[in-house]
């Protein structure tokens, strides 16, 4: 049976397919429903993580103040209205865990990879819809186990989100090393299974299930980003699993993979000999560094798409963007040591990691440059999605610059574990990625729910969050440079740090402001699902295939046959076209000039450059260098 007939028959079968409530909304195998499940769960976890951050920010800003609401909410963890020190560490730990894994990995990748990979590649669904469903339910189970850890006697895990041994390996070390830590490890193991199941599906779908005409160099940059992200996850999550397994063996069976020569107060000298906590750091950060790119790359892919669509211009340097994604992916595996500069490693090894860390800034800078040049002289539509995409570029630049400082092994001696690090990763990873996620939500909300979000609320959401994020994280750079360490419960016993109390108060007020901005977003999001203005099939006049599907979701995505693709995804503002967009699936006069067809000088694909640009030698040279390739 030919591919076309098979797809047609498949679509016909699904038009008559009636699903029960459970099959349609709970145990769905439809990628569109699974993407919404990931999104809602990610949002719920994000709210929990954000509330935690506000709780510990209250402690940092007003360390001696009693807050009755804290005791009301947290009970024994905030006796007398003052946060318990152990619980403070737990809040910091779970905040980090939730934000890094549950919101920015599963919530971001899980949502948009599931939504967009089949739609933008031209597939009916993922390669294995059943495995896709399993991926979500493992994620859900993982979230439940993590939330359960809040209700155990000794409290949740509290060794920082990195859970370094020996604190995490010794159940009696502190309250947060007890059953809560075991639950953390179980939750992460379940999460890794979810990530692997999802990742193999994404890779398989991108490589094996693209529609006719969709060659790799016609894929939108979102798909390239999700593809490389999935590869990173496939190669790095098993190593974290290995690290977690060794930790479980040390905790539960008494092995000594990470432990040696330990004296525990109240217990005495332990029997463990021969282990090394540095081993854990190597295994953890082997995932940990690719993990930050697993978080960032989907956001960068989304930004590419949103900027091109809303600037009404082809993305500048498509090939360079793909190669830079590839470069970031490869380099991300060989820079993990920059998280361990102060562990006593050989200085020569430190300089190798330093060099590679600085090199990884190059492909990142290529992407930023290409975003800016895409915006340059674009016919920009400042939709909320576009604002968030531009906001990502801002955070990526400001946060990325401080990465250069931290990547220097000598400077890192002073800056490691200080607020400088906190500022850096919250800007370049936290804020940038969350802005990418918001951009994606605003942009693809019509595709997910058939309605539009409210623009006015979107603008308020953007400006409040953007300003608040800078107010929260920028001052932290100065705190870090002054030596203020991270993860401390209070600084009141250290007079030198008391000068930062008012700064902490400013940060906390800004964090609360950011929290209120998210309430606006949540209202807008949930209200618009039910009462938002109904959208048409292609509200943004975009070129990519997902906008060729009907507004009402159907199983199998397209009624009838899947469209054939004739060109790349960024054919905007062509002078030979009346409209400023040219969808991929519309056959046109230029059918013979796609990938694989001979390109002749007498039949250029693109029109003449505007006179002002064609006369600009520097601009033309830069275009050649950064691979602006006609298609």
């Amino acid at each position: 049976m030919s591919t076309a007939a098979a797809h047609g028959a498949h679509a016909d079968a699904h038009e008559h397919h009636h699903e029960s409530f459970i099959r349609k909304y709970i145990f769905s195998t439809d990628h569109k429903m699974i993407s919404r499940q990931f999104l809602i769960t990610g949002i719920v976890m994000g709210v929990i993580g954000m509330v935690m951050s506000i709780l510990f920010r209250l402690q940092l800003a007003w360390p001696d103040q009693k807050f009755a609401i804290l005791e009301m909410l947290l009970g024994r963890w905030a006796k007398g209205g003052v946060l318990d020190a152990n619980f403070y560490m737990a809040l910091v730990t779970i905040h980090g865990t939730i934000m890094v894994f549950y919101v920015l990995t599963a919530g971001l990748s899980g949502t948009f990879s599931n939504l967009l990979i089949p739609l933008q590649c031209g597939a009916r669904d993922m390669a294995s819809p059943f495995m896709n469903m399993l991926s979500y339910w493992f994620f859900f189970l993982s979230s439940v186990v993590l939330c359960w850890s809040f209700f155990v006697e000794t409290g949740p895990a509290s060794a920082g989100w990195t859970v370094y041994p020996p604190l995490s390996a010794l159940e009696k070390a502190m309250p947060g090393s007890g059953f809560g830590m075991t639950l953390w490890l179980v939750a992460i193991a379940l999460f890794i299974v979810s990530a692997l199941l999802g990742g193999v599906n994404y890779i398989s779908t991108v490589l094996n299930m693209r529609t006719k005409g969709m060659s790799m160099n016609r894929l939108p940059l979102t798909i390239w980003a999700f593809f490389f992200t999935a590869i990173l996850g496939l190669l790095s999550f098993p190593v974290l699993l290995g690290a977690a397994l060794f930790l479980i063996f040390d905790r539960s069976f008494g092995t000594s993979f990470y432990l040696s020569d330990i004296w525990l107060n109240g217990v005495g000298a332990l029997e463990n000999v021969g282990g090394s906590p540095i081993l854990y750091q190597h295994l953890f950060w082997f995932l940990g560094h690719p993990e930050v790119y697993i978080i960032l790359m989907p956001a960068l892919g989304i930004t590419s798409e949103v900027i091109a669509t809303n600037a009404r211009k082809p993305i500048f340097g498509y090939t360079a963007m793909v190669i830079s994604l590839m470069g970031i992916s490869i380099l991300s595996f060989i820079v993990w040591g920059h998280h361990m500069f102060i562990t006593g490693m050989n200085p020569f090894l430190g300089s190798v990691f330093m060099f590679l860390t600085l090199v990884i800034a190059v492909p990142s800078a290529v992407k930023v440059f290409n975003y800016l040049t895409t915006l340059w002289r674009g016919n920009i539509r400042f939709t909320p999605a576009m604002l968030f995409a531009i906001g990502l570029v801002s955070f990526f630049i400001s946060g990325g610059l401080t990465g250069i400082y931290l990547g220097n092994a000598a400077l890192d001696i002073n800056l490691h574990d200080s607020y400088f690090v906190v500022a850096h990763f919250h800007l370049v990873m936290g804020s940038a990625a969350i802005f990418g996620m918001f951009s994606g939500i605003y942009h693809w909300f019509p595709k997910m729910f058939g309605r539009l979000m409210n623009n006015t609320l979107g603008y308020f959401h953007f400006w409040l969050t953007f300003i608040a994020a800078y107010l929260v994280f920028f001052p932290m750079h100065f705190m870090g440079l002054a030596g203020v360490p991270r993860r401390y419960y209070a600084f009141s016993v250290i007079p030198e740090f008391n000068v930062w109390l008012e700064v902490n108060q400013l940060i906390t007020v800004a964090a609360i402001m950011a929290g209120f901005a998210q309430v606006l977003f949540l209202w807008n999001f949930f209200y618009s699902i039910f009462r938002g203005k109904k959208s048409d099939a292609n509200p943004w006049n975009s070129n990519t295939l997902e906008w060729s599907t009907p507004v009402e979701h159907i199983h199998g995505n397209w009624p009838g046959e899947i469209p054939t693709v004739y060109r790349g995804p960024y054919e905007y503002s062509r002078e030979d076209r009346e409209e400023d967009f040219y969808p991929q699936h519309i056959p046109g006069d230029d059918e013979g000039h796609g990938h694989g067809a001979p390109k002749t000088k007498s039949a250029p694909v693109h029109t003449e450059e505007p006179a002002a640009q064609s006369g600009n030698v520097l601009f033309s040279a830069l275009k050649k260098v950064f691979g602006f390739s006609p298609r």
Partner: protein, 209 residues
Amino acid sequence: MLTPMQNSESRPLKFQPKEAFRMNPREFVLWLLIVASIMLFAAFTSAYILHRKDGLANNQWIQFDLPVQFTSSLIIAALSSVFMLLSFRAAKNDEISRNRSFLAITLVLGIAFCLLQYSGWKYLTSIGLPFVPQEDMVGGISASFLYVVTVFHFLHVIGGLLLLTIALFRSFRLQVHRKDLLFIRITNTYWHFVGVLWIYLFLFLYFAR
């Protein structure tokens, strides 16, 4: 099977994009999971190397011979791969009863492999090298690593035995033949993977200890 690219009006497109890489998606998913598994064992063996280096420097690493049972299981693994290959070839040629016989032999050899591994662990425990080092036992961590590596390989073999059992059932139900080779091909690939993995792990443990 790749088909020529056609548009919806059934006339050939003027351009012919290079034919894309196509493999059955489920088979491809298996290969990806194999890659993930390789990374897990890479983590284990990297940890082993790091630990050994530090352990030897601090006199906290015991060197010991691998149990003879592991050498036997290496031979059994290689034999079972041969029979699995024969089984797959029989399926491709529609030789149903040969396919069934070879699958059964592979399954039996797989069970023998598991028993030999268990016997090897028991031997190690009996000579004072348990998974959890005993009190005052310097360098016992080296045995702990061996158990982790071999137990996780064992778990992978259990998965392979499950696939073989299902393949055998399907063969009895005449669902394994030339026109439906997907499941047996997946089983074949996976079984060779666990076999090759054991060869690698054995050689690693033998030379790196």
